[in-house]
Symmetry: C2
Subunit: 132 residues, 2 copies
DNA sequence: TAACTTGGTCTCAGATAGAGACTGAATGAC
DNA sequence: GTCATTCAGTCTCTATCTGAGACCAAGTTA
């Protein structure tokens, strides 16, 4: 409730700035890392550094294309570090930067909410389906 | 760091369940509400109930199509309540459900992280652009 | 009488995501 | 010696998704 008020207040502030993606953090950041794969990848990297193919094995249903693309975005945003060893075959290791690790806190909050309320959501979804 | 470890542990647990979207909360929930508009809409509704056209005015660059669609998804997931007054012209008011309001906490955490670290991200982005 | 409001839906074009073949050099199995 | 596999991707083609904007019916306002 209190968080709700605070959130509302923030939204009204962004409003006055025209919701510009270059200035509004929600639009500028969450647009990017709030996609299907980014959060999952950040969770996977929270365990520790991983190589490209290891990540692909951990999350089998991401395509190589999206894995590359998502990791690149996270790298550009400074959340993930990409370390290339010029061996043959190449060895590329991804790890969280300090910034990326600092994101674990809020992300954990989100994940815990999701775990707590997922059953309720599933139930609501089922009810809607039944009504339809 | 500690949150990082906790997050990693959770990921490994989901792993053992095969990362099934029907069971893994991150996939089942964040896949949906982690899109471009959902979080923004939840923030807008955190202020208070709003009518369809009011939401459209608050977030001008969402298309009516996506506004409808996103609100429907949030409704199906039980985060948003849709109240239709059968007047002419119709009057439809959207508001957060208790479940939706309970999401404000974790979302606020995320937003605060975004606000704090957005400058750092912008800086990293700029550096990458310069290097390219 | 004409224009505007309500909360959408519809269609079409353009952007995006996914599936899967392909790369090139080294290593392992046979 | 030869074939298959591994590494970290890239490339192409198709399928899905998104956005822009026209359109709706009924009432209210100018």
């Amino acid at each position: 409730m209190d968080a709700c008020v605070a959130l509302g207040a923030k939204f009204e502030l962004w409003q006055t700035a025209g919701l510009n993606p270059d200035r509004c953090p929600v639009r500028g950041l969450l647009d990017q890392i709030g996609d299907r794969w980014s959060t999952l990848l950040l969770c996977a990297l929270a365990v520790g550094p991983r190589r490209f193919s290891a990540l692909h094995r951990l999350i089998p249903d991401i395509s190589k294309r999206m894995l590359t693309q998502t990791l690149r975005t996270l790298e550009v945003d400074g959340l993930v570090h990409r370390d290339v060893q010029p061996t043959v075959p190449p060895s590329v290791t991804y790890s969280l930067t300090p910034l990326g690790r600092s994101f674990a806190g809020p992300l954990l909050g989100l994940v815990e909410w999701a775990e707590t309320h997922f059953p309720a959501v599933l139930q609501t979804r089922a009810q809607t389906k039944r009504a339809a």
